[in-house]
Symmetry: C2
């Protein structure tokens, strides 16, 4: 047997075991699931030295391969990272269990009672880069929602992910749950991903997290439904009726609080009626915060702090202290611009005009549309989902942050007393 065939065989076995164990997990009660997560808290603390030892192998390999300091930093299982995992676990324990709930049971004319019960999806595959903490976060969310999970992290975090999975599996076995509910793909070969993406008979959903390249690769090769976002190109539109005292802190926050994330601001649209006096002011504030400004000819004319935008700056995800500015003649122009250059992630309007706010809300197509607040709020925790496994800019199944509920589906349940169809 050649290597490629061996990889396909190993992956099929992983997927099959995930499917088989998911049947049992789907009907486990909430208390047991929470106890597993509670034990995991203790096990992470008790096994710190083992975790460090395995993580050091990854760090050592990373240094040899010449990873940047920032990359090595993301890879390290520091005390801080372990604390963050533990606090994530506590959050998931505190969340209500969606499985088994029925929102409403309605009575049909023939006396049938019809409702929709939340049930697990079944098996979820996570394909992600670097950060080993995703291993624990994703496993905890999938487990609580009653799903088996197959984890395929970055090859540079292989040893860390394997030992984390071992700890999670110990917590499962302490409660007599099948350990195959949580599996890490036991190969770093890229063929492993391709093999995984063929098994639509065993896997219900794939969630890729990482750079646009990884996500496109997964989306284009998968026979399994994929929930994803490619990028976040978020805009704030400052309306002619904006309260500019609200606008300034919102813009500064959206651009500078964490410029490297998907809900950070990348494009600023300003109505021409306020541009002449507001653009110089906000440009100054942004420059003080070390933001590099590029823009359209009119914006350049309003402020010497703005330089000419290059063609590929429109709709670009800078992920950096850089911002693209455009003066628009109307809200409709802003909406058209967003429809052309946005990424369906997060779009915001600053206005005191109720009609403008409602028209923007209804007419802009994005996973979150925000009135008078920072784009940085498009996040599962901030929007009240508790914690998230990712953000979807696909419209099917979930649009926006995905929490526990988005890791489940609803089946119809029908209670009768002998009804037949006429």
């Amino acid at each position: 047997m050649n290597d490629s065939a061996a990889i396909y065989e190993v992956i099929e076995a992983v997927a099959k075991k995930a499917r088989e164990s998911s049947t049992r997990l789907g009907t486990v009660d909430t208390q047991t699931k929470n106890s597993v997560l509670g034990d995991l808290l203790t096990l992470l603390e008790d096994n710190k030295s083992t975790l460090r030892l395995e993580n050091e192998k990854d760090l050592e390999n990373g240094r040899k391969r010449g990873l940047s300091g920032a990359m090595l930093d993301r890879l390290a299982l520091s005390d801080g990272v372990i604390e963050a995992m533990k606090s994530g676990l506590r959050e998931v324990i505190a969340l209500p269990d969606p499985v088994g709930s029925i929102e409403t049971l309605t009575r049909r004319p023939n006396n049938l009672l019809v409702g929709r019960m939340r049930v697990p999806l079944g098996v979820i595959a996570m394909i992600y880069e670097s950060r080993p903490n995703v291993t624990v976060d994703a496993a905890a969310l999938c487990l609580k929602a009653g799903n088996s999970v197959i984890l395929r992290g970055g090859s540079e975090a292989f040893h860390s992910n394997m030992v984390l999975a071992k700890v999670i599996r110990r917590a499962l076995s302490q409660h007599n749950l099948p350990t195959d509910c949580v599996q890490v793909v036991p190969t770093t070969d890229r063929q492993g991903i391709h093999a995984l993406l063929q098994h639509d008979e065993y896997i219900d959903l794939v969630i890729p997290r990482g750079g646009e390249g990884l996500i496109r690769m997964v989306a284009e090769n998968s026979r399994i439904p994929v929930l994803k976002h490619y990028k976040g190109v978020c805009h704030i539109y400052v309306d002619k009726m904006a309260d500019l005292e609200k606008a300034t802190p919102i813009i500064i926050n959206a651009k500078t609080q964490r410029p490297g994330v998907c809900n950070a601001l990348e494009g600023l649209l300003i109505h021409e009626a306020v541009a002449s006096h507001y653009l110089p002011e906000i440009a100054k504030k942004l420059r003080e915060a070390e933001v590099v400004l590029v823009g359209c000819p009119r914006s350049v004319a309003f402020s010497s702090l703005i330089s000419d935008a290059q063609p590929d700056d429109w709709g670009r995800e800078f992920l950096d202290l850089k911002l693209c500015v455009k003066v628009v003649d109307s809200m409709d122009e802003a909406k058209d611009y967003i429809a052309t250059y946005g990424s369906k992630h997060t779009e915001a309007i600053i206005t005191e005009d109720h009609a403008a706010a409602m028209a923007f809300l209804a007419g802009v197509d994005a996973s979150a549309v925000v009135v008078n607040a920072s784009t940085r709020f498009n996040d599962g925790g901030e929007l009240g989902l508790g914690t998230e496994i990712g953000i979807s800019t696909s419209k099917l199944h979930a649009y926006g942050p995905m929490g526990l509920e988005e890791l489940t589906t609803r089946k119809f349940v029908v209670f009768g007393d002998g009804q037949i169809r006429i």
Copy 2:
């Protein structure tokens, strides 16, 4: 330019126009959408003779190609079929418009108001066989949910579908809505389907309806998410605590009321405690209804009306007056059997034992799980969705019948008064 390139070009133009027109349709008010559907009612009536003329072309081609009488029957736009279309339209007009509704707005600790607004998916492609009435039903549902639709019916119904689209487009233009919201693919070449399935940048969802072959072809070639069911292999499990007077009419109804549809009964599982006296009785009733019975050795021993099942009868979709019977030792055996041979469509239990009913409900994975009623109730109309565009046995986005709500998604809407992320 060769033919293939020409087809790809035509299809791309169709998809692009669908996307462009969907932006406008997404914010049209309910009254206008209902007026379009109301005008369509009148137009169908007024254009009966044109419809017949075009339909006759398809029938004539069908006769030449040697289509069966049943196939020609499905193809005919008879008065009855036109009346059915009209009554479908009246149903869709009566349904509440899901677009723009926000179920709840909750207040976050920082005073942000967060909700989820129902919005159209955007562009839906329907790929279906024969029956031209699907053209009007699907267009009406997509339109009411604010989506543009691309229709690709069977090649044998091409002229009928083209003239129906023409009538629908006239209704749209009477209300100044873009006619490209409803388009029929202007080629019967199979390459047109392949071309369509590549345009994930313009099309949000594909719904194939027809035989398993068509559906597999679509699922395997699509870059766009597909909602589908391959087949309906539905079971009824008669528990040891069943009220057998309820069981008999339910079984007869599920098997014989319309044996050719996906929610008809294909497998009967009977607990061994009731099999000895109930199997002979139900077998007799089923034979009287002209149902051919095959089964496991034990069932054959209980009734001479049952003959030995062939290996491929287990889990087979007969779509005919034929039924596969099995005696089981426990409800767990029935659940395992359903997990192996079921199609995640509809599964039912007959029991007076509350614990058994609830365990079956929670433990069986199917788009609808039914207690003490016929499997035939898994249908959008019967379950209270008003009318349906199909049934999904995929778990993502929709699981079970898909009505107006399932043709929409939810985006987050956030109302602030200056909040920034801390």
